[in-house]
Symmetry: D3
Subunit: 149 residues, 6 copies
C-alpha cells in the first residue's frame, strides 16, 4: 500500500504542540531561475547578477520560492485535510542561492468551524538557513474532517 495512504488523520488526532521536521534542501541558482520561468517574476533581485550584486551583494531567492519549499518540505499527506489558507506570512531574512533550508512545523492551535463536520488546525511553519537564521515564518490553516462526521 503506498506510503501516503497511511495518513488519514482526523481533527481529533492532532495535538497542540506536536512537531514535525522535514528534510533539508539547498536552494541553487538553477532553482531560482526555474521558479522565475514558472511564475514570470523576473525582478532583477533574482535574475540580474550585475544589478543584484551592486544593490544586494548578490542574487536572492524569491520569497515565494522559500515559502513554497518550506511548505513542500513539511507537506502532510493527510487525505482528510485540505488547505484552508495562510496567515502572518513573513520573510525575516533573505535566502541566497547556495543556502540550505530546514523546515519545521508545529501545531499551534485547534479551532471550531461553523460546519460541524470539520475543525481547523493551525500549524506554525519555520524555515531556517544553515546558520540557524530564521528566513521564513507563517501560519497554515488546515480544514480537517472530524471523526464520525
Amino acid at each position: 500500500m503506498p506510503g501516503w495512504t497511511c495518513c488519514e488523520r482526523y481533527f481529533e488526532d492532532y495535538s497542540v504542540g506536536e512537531r514535525f521536521a522535514g528534510p533539508r534542501k539547498t536552494v541553487d541558482q538553477a532553482d531560482v531561475s526555474a521558479f522565475a520561468g514558472l511564475t514570470w517574476d523576473f525582478h532583477p533581485a533574482h535574475t540580474d547578477e550585475s544589478f543584484a550584486t551592486e544593490r544586494y551583494g548578490g542574487r536572492i531567492a524569491h520569497g515565494m520560492l522559500t515559502f513554497s519549499i518550506v511548505t513542500g518540505l513539511t507537506v502532510e499527506y493527510n487525505l482528510l485535510a485540505i488547505s484552508y489558507g495562510y496567515e502572518k506570512v513573513r520573510f525575516p531574512h533573505p535566502v541566497r542561492p547556495g543556502d540550505t533550508i530546514a523546515a519545521a512545523a508545529e501545531v499551534k492551535a485547534k479551532r471550531e468551524h461553523r460546519r460541524p463536520d470539520i475543525g481547523l488546525v493551525v500549524k506554525h511553519y519555520t524555515g531556517t538557513n544553515q546558520d540557524d537564521a530564521i528566513v521564513f515564518v507563517c501560519e497554515h490553516i488546515l480544514a480537517v474532517q472530524r471523526r464520525g462526521s
Copy 2:
C-alpha cells in the same frame, strides 16, 4: 535604460483604489510537475493521476503554485519597495492543469509604520480562471520608502 528601472515609486505615489491587471498564463501539467520537483510536495492530488481522478476528478495544481503565479504575474518592479508579508491567503476554487489564470491587484489600504522612513501599502490580489471563477485571493503588504527619507 532597462524597463524595470522605470519603477521607483515612493509611498506617497500609491493611491488607494489603483488597480493593475497582469497578463494571463495557462497552467499546464508540466508546470505542476516542475513545481512538485522544485518544492518536494508530491501530494497525490498533484502527481498521481489514478488517485486524483478517483478522488478529485483529475489532478489539481498546488495552491502554492497558483499563489506564486498570481503574485508573479502582477509583480511590481518598484525598487523602493520590499515584500513585508502576506495575510488572508485563501484558495476558494481548485486550479486544474489546462486552466488559464488571470491576475489582478488593487491597492486596498495605506498604513503608517513605526519606522518614519517607510509606509505600508496593502494590495489585494485576485486570481481568476477562464470561467471567471475566483481561484485565489490574498493581501500582500509592501514596505515602501517615503519621499525625502
Copy 3:
C-alpha cells in the same frame, strides 16, 4: 531533527522478507522529454510522435526513466548504507506517458562480504502500472555497516 536522520540502520537491523511500498507517480510526456534532455537519449521511440505512433502505437518512456523512478520512489535514507550495484534489471512491459507507477521493495537476501565491517543487503524492486502490470524488476545490492564495526 530532519526526517532523514532517523534512518541509521545497521546490517543486523534488516530482515529478509521486510517490505516497503513507496508513493506513486504519474509519468508524463514532459518527464520523458526532460529525461531525454538530461541524458541525450533521443531514440525516436521516446521523442518522435509520428514514428512512435506508427511503430509502437505511441511514445514510450525510457526504460532508464522507469528504473530511476522506481528506485527513487523507494529510496531509503539510511546513512549507514551505500549502493553497491544492481543485477537482473528487466523491463517486462513498456511504460507510456500518462501511466502511473507504483514501486515496492522487499529484502530478499543478506550476504557476507569479505570486509568484516559490512554486509550486503539484497533488495528486490518491482514497478507496477495502474493496471497492475509489472513494468520493471531488479535487484539492488546495498553495502551496509555492521554494528560495532
Copy 4:
C-alpha cells in the same frame, strides 16, 4: 531521410570486440537537482549542501543519473534491437557536480536465445571522468533480430 533510420543492424552484423565512444557531458548541479525532482530521490548526499559537505566533501550525483547519462551518451538507434536488461551494474567512484563524463561501449559477447528469430548482444559500458577514473560499469543486454527471421 532522418539520420537514425540508417540504423537497422541485425544480430549477425554485430562483432565481438567492436567499440563505440560517445560524446562527453559535464554533469552540473542543475542536472542533479533536475534528476532529484524527476525521480523523487532526495537523499541528502545529492540535495543538502551542508550535510554533504560535512560527510562527503560536497554533493555527489545520483548513481542512477550517471548510469542514465552513460547509457544515453552511447545509445544506439538500432530499430531492430530492444533493451533486454542490465547486469553487473557498479559505481566504482563517485561523480561530483562539475565532473565531465565520457562513455564507451564494447560488444563483449553474443548469445543464443530460445526464440530462434533473435539473439542477445552483450555490451560492456564504461563511464570515465575527466581524470580517467572509472565511475561506472555495467553490461547491457540487447535482444536483436536475426536476418531472415
Copy 5:
C-alpha cells in the same frame, strides 16, 4: 483587462527611430544546459567543461540562446503584428555562463508590402553584456496591419 491587450499598434503608429530597452537577464550554466536539452545541440563548446576550458577558456552559451533571449527580452505584445523574418544575424562576441545580457530594439525602417493591408517594420536589435560589449545584432522584420484595412 490583461496588460498585453493594451498593445494594438498599427503600421502607422510606428516611427523610425523609436527605441525600446528590455530588462536584463543573467545567462547561467543551467540555462545553457536546458537549451541544449531542448534543441539537441550538444556541441562540446556548450556542454563539455574539459574540452571547452582547454579550447575556449570555459563553456560558452549557444548563439541561438543569446538570440532567443535578446528577442524574448524585447518582445512586443502587439496583436496586430506577426514576425515576418530575421536578417543580418551576427554574434560579434561570445556569451559565457554568468554574463548578464541587456537587450535593446530600435525601429530602423518602414517598408511597403505588395499586400496593401500590411506594412513591414524593420527593427534593429542589440544584445550587450555587463561590460558593454555587443554580443548580438540582427534585424527583425514585422508584418503589421495598416489602419482601416
Copy 6:
C-alpha cells in the same frame, strides 16, 4: 575517441549540394513553456490557451523555438568552423504543440572571405512538419578554416 572529435573539416572539404538530414523531434507544450521561461517571451499566442484558441485555434510554438530546434537537430560538430551568422530567416507555417519537426541542411554556396585563412560556407536549412509543410527556412553562414592556414 569521442564521436564529435571525428569532425574536423576544412573549407576545402565542403561541396556545394551536399546534404544532411537530422533526426526528428516532437515539439510538446512543455517545450514551448520551457522556452518561454528561458527567454521571457510570454506572448499570449504561446502561453494563454484561452486567448490563443479564440484567435489562432490553439497555442503555437515560438518561431525562435522552431529555429533553435532546426539548427540544433542539424548541428555539425566541426571544430574548425564557427557560426558567422544567419540570413533570410522565414517562418512560412506555424508549429503547434504536438507537431513533429524534421530538419535538413544543404550546402548552397561557398564564398571567399577577406581573411585568407578562412572561407564562408552557406548552408540552407529547412524545417518540415509531419504533413510535409515547410515551417522554417534560413541560411546559416559558417566561417571555416582553410587547409594549410
